[in-house]
């Protein structure tokens, strides 16, 4: 039998594994307890949580490994940050007007290091060091994705909220585009600065840009401003021998050509409830690999274990095995242990 790392790597790199790998985020107390020898994972105990996750699945990406203490904190500017057990809410930053947004953002961009000024010392970068540290907890046989900076449209809109973002997009589109450009240029330098012996061979680019109904913004706008920058980030990764796993929730059907054209190698999480269909996607993009695809809006929380098993087999067969089996976002607390185990055991028992 192959190990978790080899099995997952094979699928991402277009090869056949011994069985479909499992790739997910486990934000579920019952699941972690089950894989922690029946003991709950304590608040903040990431190492114990990581050990449980290694036993449960084959691969994952940057996410909490243990529940957090529920609390409310405040940023220096007074904005509230609410930590819930498995997620965090941050109050949006408010600007007085579009003119103020433009002025402040232009100043921020000017104050930052010029992204074009020489190579980036990524090996000493806090973001890189943290991920390497996590890798030591997870061990060599777990497939863990690099989380580099990227074009980050989600960061731009989520800082202020979608409503103000929409106003700024209308009133000062140039500043939105300048931020996107800065993000992409910095990301490329950061990736180019990775050491040659970097242990990662796939990167996670998480950028929520769609809803149930489709993309948040005009497809033609994405074509003009977003996909070219995503393409540069993917190219920088590929030049380092690293595959690109792209993540966005929502219905991506109308922008799949743009995403695939930009060079993504793996698509995550495939939100079934939003109208993403694995069979249709695989037919349209036969070289793309999928990570996720087992509905967590209804099936995993409320379905029967048999329905979950059937969905897993269908997902594997609809993609001809080009899939890392997992939930369509994350396995949160409402998913019963029995259903997670049904998903897991079905993938583990499947043979091509």
């Amino acid at each position: 039998m192959q190990g978790s790392y080899e099995r997952t790597r094979r699928v991402i790199w277009g090869e056949r594994p011994d069985r479909p790998p499992l790739f997910d985020l486990l934000m579920n107390d019952a699941v972690l307890q089950h894989f922690n020898h029946g003991k709950p994972v304590a608040i903040g105990d990431d190492r114990t949580g990581a050990a449980a996750i290694i036993r449960a699945i084959d691969g994952s990406r940057a996410a909490p490994f243990s529940p957090a203490e529920e609390r409310v904190d405040y940023r220096e500017d007074g904005r509230e940050v609410r930590s819930l057990r498995w997620t965090t809410w941050e109050e949006k930053r408010a600007y007085g007007s579009s003119e103020e947004y433009r002025r402040i953002k232009r100043q921020h961009l000017a104050d930052r290091t010029d992204p074009g000024a020489g190579p980036h010392d990524t090996a000493s970068d806090e973001r890189c060091l943290r991920q390497l540290e996590v890798l030591t907890w997870l061990g060599e046989d777990f497939y863990y994705l690099l989380s580099p900076p990227h074009q980050n449209l989600m960061g731009i809109w989520s800082e202020v909220g979608l409503e103000p973002f929409s106003y700024y997009l209308y009133d000062c589109e140039d500043v939105i585009v300048e931020q996107l450009e800065w993000n992409a240029a910095y990301a490329c330098r950061w990736i180019e600065g990775l050491p040659e012996d970097t242990p990662f061979d796939c990167a996670f680019l998480g950028d929520d840009i769609a809803f149930k109904g489709g993309p948040m913004v005009q497809v033609k706008w994405l074509g003009k401003h977003y996909f070219p920058r995503l393409e540069r980030v993917c190219a920088a990764l590929h030049a380092k021998g690293i595959k690109a796993m792209y993540h966005s929730d929502g219905n991506l059907n109308s922008i799949m050509d743009g995403l695939v054209g930009a060079g993504i190698d793996v698509l995550n999480p495939i939100e079934i409830c939003a109208g993403m269909d694995l069979a249709d996607l695989h037919r349209r993009y036969p070289k793309l690999v999928y990570a996720g695809g087992i509905d967590v809006s209804h099936l995993l929380p409320f379905g029967t274990p048999q329905q979950v098993r059937d969905a897993v087999v269908k997902a594997i067969e609809d993609t001809e095995g080009q899939i890392l089996v997992g939930s369509s976002t994350e396995v949160f607390d409402i998913v019963p242990l029995a259903n997670f185990l049904a998903m897991r055991e079905t993938a583990m028992a499947y043979r091509f």
Binding site: G161, S166, Y167, Y170, F211, K212, P215, S297
Partner: protein
């Protein structure tokens, strides 16, 4: 092109300043506020909703049209306007997402509903109390998380237990028609634009 046609175009294109100017001009020319709302603003938002439904408009276009609409409505706030009905709207308890709720509120307001926005993290008790306080015809609930959807069922029950005849519309990412039927909600809106037609049909408006 009449002044109301120009106002309609200004709202559709999200031109807030022009919407404001044209509304002021319409009022100064003696046009009735109700006519400005119906033939200018609501007509515009109906076009916006249709363009959103057909993916010609996306969220930003809808929101800037809403911004222009609000600028126009603000100038009419002292005028007598007949509302189709009153809607109490909110995101359910435990859920802090507001964009879906805001989009629906905008569309309903543009269509001529009086909208009472309770915000996010709204309990069943708060929905019921607001429905009573405002004699609401409709309660509209949004949920983006499967984990919070359950409180929609609680609110439907609470409204019934309170003896209110308020109709309930639900929507949000994990919400489906079958879930609406399961919890005995009166209507399901898959997106902001359809919330208007669902709301109107429930009130036979």
């Amino acid at each position: 092109m009449t002044i109301l046609d120009q106002l309609k175009d200004a709202v559709i294109s999200g031109n807030r300043d022009q919407a404001r100017t044209l509304t002021q001009q319409a009022l100064s020319e003696g046009l009735d506020a109700k006519m400005i709302v119906v033939d200018g603003i609501s007509a515009a938002m109906e076009v916006v909703g249709e363009k959103f439904r057909t993916n010609e408009f996306f969220v930003p276009e809808l929101l800037i049209a809403q911004r222009a609409m609000k600028a126009s409505l603000k100038l009419l706030s002292g005028e007598a306007v007949d509302y189709i009905g009153t809607v109490v709207i909110g995101t359910v308890k435990g859920d802090l997402h507001d964009i879906g709720k805001n989009l629906v509120a905008a569309m309903l307001e543009g269509a001529g509903f009086k909208v009472v926005d309770l915000g996010v993290d709204v309990s069943s008790e708060q929905f019921v109390q607001a429905a009573k306080d405002h004699s609401a015809h409709l309660v509209a609930m949004s949920a983006l998380l499967t984990t919070t959807m359950g409180s929609m069922r609680d609110t439907v029950s609470a409204l019934s237990a309170a003896g209110l005849s308020t109709k309930v519309i639900i929507g949000g990412a994990p919400v489906t028609q079958s879930y609406a039927e399961e919890i005995k909600a009166d209507g399901y809106a898959p997106d902001a634009a359809s919330a208007v037609s669902v709301g109107k049909s429930l009130l036979h408006a």
